[in-house]
């Protein structure tokens, strides 16, 4: 009897230990994935950068694979321009909308509006891109002239796409500001708007900044929507109504037929994008830590 019991106990122990190991291995999959991603991207991209020459690659303004010229400076600039435009369009609207959601929205319509924002976040980028291509591009072409596929179209579209990304965290940052701040401000004679914009917004600023950085990350990494509306000309950006090509667009438009150094240069473009994203992620986690400490 007692022998049976001990053997059962030991089987249980093996099971417990075994499953614990399984859980741990599962948890390490994400670590492995990040390591593999870094390894494969850098191993395929860095040699190409070395072969082209780091300064020629990063600061060269001509991208002509047929002449063996691989400078991606124009695309780095384009990515920054498009993202900057998206921030200019998206952040003010998102900020005011979050204030509306957190402080003004009548309770009856809050639920439907909130799920509207969730729906906006759920719409795939290809659908946004299609919308941009069939609605915004012709609109810009007819109103301002040019081909329509342009910096303006890309920034407008991305500005719309980052709205839900920014509104969600900003609203919860505003909601986590203690109500006493608002009441105190009202009691001092400030109007409702003044209390919200001069007291609550500053109190929530690290959370809001984190939301904006999240939006920047989404905008700079966005691919399919940008490809469909930006025109994709590989040259320095020449104006708000002219086409440009971001780093993401460069990878997708040419990867289909690229071989040899050309292909590696495209992967190297991905590496540069990846480094940008890592920097943005790092600042995001720093900001989040600051927001947590502030609370």
């Amino acid at each position: 009897m007692s022998i049976k019991n001990t053997s059962k106990v030991s089987i249980d122990r093996i099971k417990e230990q075994g499953m614990k190991t399984v859980f741990m291995v599962a948890a390490c999959v994400s670590v492995l994935a990040v390591l593999l991603i870094c390894l494969f991207l850098f191993a395929s991209g860095i040699p190409a950068i070395g072969e082209i020459g780091p300064t020629k690659f990063l600061f060269g303004t001509t991208w002509k694979p047929s002449n063996n010229l691989y400078g991606i400076f124009s695309m780095i600039v384009a990515s920054i321009y498009v993202t900057g435009g998206a921030i200019l369009v998206g952040v003010p609207i998102a900020l005011f909308t979050s204030v509306f959601m957190a402080r003004y929205c009548p309770k009856k319509i809050y639920r439907p509006l909130k799920s509207g924002i969730e729906l906006m976040a759920g719409v795939p980028s290809i659908v946004y891109g299609f919308f941009g291509l069939v609605v915004m591009v012709p609109f810009i072409r007819n109103t301002f002239g040019g081909t329509g596929t342009s910096w303006l179209a890309a920034s407008l579209l991305l500005g719309i796409m980052i709205l839900p990304t920014i509104i969600g965290p900003t609203e919860s940052a505003l909601r986590s500001v203690p109500e006493s701040y608002y009441e105190g401000s009202l009691a001092l004679g400030a109007t409702k708007e003044r209390s919200i914009f001069c007291v609550m917004l500053p109190a929530a600023k690290s959370g809001i900044l984190a939301a904006v950085v999240l939006g920047i990350g989404r905008a700079i990494g966005e691919t399919m929507a940008v490809i469909m509306v930006a025109g994709n000309q590989a040259r320095m950006p020449q104006g708000i109504l002219k086409g440009l090509r971001t780093m993401t667009a460069n990878i997708v438009t040419e990867m289909g037929y690229a071989t040899g150094l050309h292909r590696e240069a495209l992967i190297a473009t991905g590496v540069v994008l990846f480094v940008f994203i890592l920097i943005i992620n790092l600042s995001l986690s720093l900001l989040n830590r600051r927001a947590e400490n502030a609370n």
């Binding site: 395929s44 005011f96 909308t97 719409v123 069939v134 909601r175 691919t223 991905g270």
Partner: protein, 300 residues
């Protein structure tokens, strides 16, 4: 709790605002023009946001629905019917397969983080940082990695399999995070009661903790489905864009890829908008489901 308090507070404010007449509100805005302008801007921004959403959804539905013809759903694709059926079936296959792989890994990882890992463990810190990093990586970088690793290094070629594994890595952090939160929300008293009745740790996890965390885990999986259905950039160079229903080692396009190919060719824009309708319908269903899951979580 905090949000509940906030909602209650905003309720009080709504009442307050309703009790003061619109006239006196207007007068106060005239006295403080800055405040009036800010209130106006807030309203305008909110209207703008939701107008854009309504216009986008409405436009695509109006443009696309007339082209949802029976021939669009025929089983074989050719340039005549531009059928989306093969892509629809591929999307289904890829969603199911991706979840079959990613969900257990993600849930197990969350179990490790919540139930086993000790606080301040260095491994846990590394796992958290990498999961965070993964969730910030844009899909095109996943696509590049999938192309380099699964397509080339593993020699799978452009195939559904390569696409599936790329998607697994992509949705893993999402499932991990939501499962972790769901597990954390299970009260410790459940675990203590189970231990007190003599159940082992494993038994406690699988019969007590996991079942109570199901709604939260489900919400994460629903979000993952949404990401898989809409994904394009990560699949373009991993699963490829052939319009057929292949076996797992063959190339096939999903709905989102189908839509991208159609709209970049520019020959079948109407069918592209019909495809957009199908994708949007899926997105709407997913949103509705995740709303329901959220409600169940709130009920507890």
């Amino acid at each position: 709790m905090q949000t509940n308090a906030a909602v209650a507070n905003s309720e009080i404010q709504t009442k307050k605002r309703n009790s003061s007449s619109a006239g006196s509100q207007l007068k106060s805005y005239l006295r403080h023009p800055g405040s009036g302008i800010l209130a106006l801007l807030t309203g305008v921004a909110a209207v703008l946001t939701f107008a854009v959403l309504l216009f986008l959804v409405g436009y695509i539905l109006v443009k696309g629905i007339p082209y949802l013809t029976p021939s669009l759903f025929s089983l074989e694709y050719n340039s005549e019917n531009v059928s989306l059926m093969p892509s629809l079936i591929n999307t289904f296959i890829m969603t199911v397969m991706t979840l079959l792989i990613a969900a257990p890994i993600g849930i197990f990882a969350a179990i490790y983080l919540v139930e086993y890992a000790k606080k301040g463990n260095r491994l846990v810190k590394v796992i958290r940082i990498t999961a965070e990093t993964l969730s910030g990586i844009p899909s095109i970088v996943f696509g590049l990695f999938g192309m380099l690793f699964f397509v080339t290094a593993m020699n799978w070629g452009m195939s559904l399999m390569a696409g599936i594994f790329t998607l697994v890595i992509m949705v893993l952090p999402l499932i991990m995070r939501t499962s972790e939160e769901a597990l954390k929300a299970v009260p410790d008293s459940y675990r203590e009661a189970s231990f007190g009745l003599g159940a082992g740790k494993l038994r406690t996890i699988f019969t007590i903790v996991l079942p109570s965390a199901v709604p939260g885990i489900l919400a994460g999986i629903i979000l993952a489905i949404g990401r898989i259905i809409g994904e394009t950039a990560a699949l373009l160079y991993t699963s490829g864009t052939v319009a057929q229903i292949p076996d797992l080692m063959g190339s096939g396009r999903t709905l989102a890829l189908h839509m991208y190919v159609l709209s970049s060719e520019g020959l079948h824009m109407n069918q592209a908008s019909a495809t957009a309708v199908v994708i949007l319908v899926f997105v709407l269903i997913i949103n509705w489901l995740s709303g329901k899951a959220a409600k169940r979580i709130a009920k507890g």
